[in-house]
Symmetry: C2
């Protein structure tokens, strides 16, 4: 059962994976690439795709991914418009894994649970979509988890081109719709944010978006001491003040965020800056991995 990797095989593997050659110097820093990215290399998430979750600690801003999970995203928009999450709570924080929010009563006491908006559809399974035709920016690095990997419109994506399948990947800050044992039981009412990468979850549960700002408000919450990191006492939960789409907020309360385009030259330059580092770094690996580079976000310049 133990993997048998002889030293000659290890050496062969090693030579098959020599580092890419370093680019000519001077190497640019990530900070410099981001600071000098032209305006055209930034985009503003649509107000209908931007979920604003207000916690006592501050706002968590989530960009929804309707291309990848259109039916879940439709539900999430409906739930936000119905004020479904207002007064509910962060229920679960499992260290090195996820923070999850929804209705504490939904599972244990369905009779006492907050009603869903009438007619909310069951979205079914939305784990993957066709790879062909996706505006996919590949990473050339080797990856343990998928045959190809890269970015689509700011989201980390893994893919199996032979099966014509692509899926969002469980990198830090990604947001998904929790499900029970039944594979199609997610409805968007219970959401989770990744506070660590966990790519084993890919293709097992639908991802619906990515935290653009405020993930540290979730990642720094006390861990729950119950099974799976659920809080054991109601008073340990973090209450949710309000969740709305940016589109439904008064103009003055709308976030003014911009996200670096992953189909831009600045993004390509940023990846190179992450691969080849100077300054404090004395060794560069010439590599990134799918979850090691998050797509930059900034406030809209005035």
């Amino acid at each position: 059962m133990r993997p048998r990797l002889s030293l000659p095989l290890l050496l062969a593997l090693a030579s098959a994976t020599a580092l890419a050659a370093p680019p000519p110097k001077p190497w640019r820093s990530s900070a410099e690439v981001i600071a000098t990215a032209p305006a055209a290399d930034w985009r503003e998430p649509k107000a209908d795709d931007l979920l604003v979750m207000e916690l006592p600690q501050g706002r968590v801003l989530i960009e929804l991914a309707p291309r990848f999970a259109p039916r879940h995203v439709a539900n999430i928009r409906a739930l936000a418009r119905a004020g479904y999450w207002d007064g509910l709570a962060v229920l679960r924080v499992q260290d090195n894994y996820v923070a999850q929010w929804g209705d504490p009563e939904a599972e244990k006491n369905p009779a006492g649970a907050k009603p869903l908006p009438p007619g909310l559809p069951k979205p079914g399974i939305e784990f993957a979509l066709p790879f062909k035709g996706l505006p996919f920016q590949p990473l050339p690095e080797r990856d343990a988890w998928a045959s190809v990997q890269g970015f689509v419109e700011g989201f980390p994506v893994a893919a199996d081109p032979k099966r014509n399948q692509a899926w969002l990947s469980h990198c830090y800050g990604m947001v998904g719709a929790g499900r029970d044992m039944a594979v199609d039981s997610s409805n968007g009412a219970e959401l989770y944010a990744m506070i660590a990468p966990a790519r084993a979850l890919d293709l097992n549960v639908p991802l619906v978006g990515r935290v653009l700002q405020g993930i540290e408000l979730l990642s720094s919450l006390p861990r729950g001491s119950g099974a799976l990191g659920f809080y054991e006492k109601p008073e340990q939960r973090t209450p949710i003040t309000r969740v709305r789409l940016a589109a439904d907020l008064p103009e003055a309360e709308r976030p003014a965020l911009q996200v670096l385009r992953t189909d831009s030259a600045s993004w390509t330059a940023l990846l190179q800056a992450r691969r080849w580092r100077e300054g404090w770094f004395v060794h560069s690996h010439g590599a990134v991995d799918l979850c090691s580079v998050s797509v930059p976000v900034r406030e809209r310049p005035r």
Copy 2:
């Protein structure tokens, strides 16, 4: 500058990396593998290699790695025996990166800093060691960061056999010795724990051990709002009550931890259980990565 990966090349890559065949069923769960691991598959860290850091929130237990950074570990033992960290603080928590502790005055006000134990040597650079002869348990998975990867005595290790070099890797929970710009400026007095994987740090700063218990006490601390996650106000820091080697604690206060041996059949079985999952999971990737499986730790059975 953009990596050029054509669809045919992507397809070729994909076929070169077909999933390993699933093992025969029934697949065992991780919990079952851990629960049924025989006593011989567990080891107890030496009391001289076990650092006990007491915070107001509880104890953080760190296994030192003298094989990888013997001179830093010698310094850390001397610092613990001198009570150096007692009354110092966690100074920096940078989201999705590191938590760091030491003397707040060390950099900005060296005259007001706590003196180091007299004669504490400068340990120099301890980033890597020879690969040959290491008791290395390889992972067969593809890896973006190194030509080979695996585990040595419970620690995640990456290696370049062609250069006969191996190094500890910056996975979640690993502990390192901070340094300034000078590549040899770490001395073990300022330590950090990884609250996220960051393998770009490998070969840039010495790793000295791994948190066996209590990492969630560090990962759930508020993030610092200063540059690099340093706290801006002294009262935001977490005070360190005491740091000692287990060897120097009264018998009753010594941790009784056991770590699963990474050269055991149980470890091999655990990796398989992480690659192939049942129960809630409907899709298995047949893969792990170096930082996705942490080595199990338990209390010594009575």
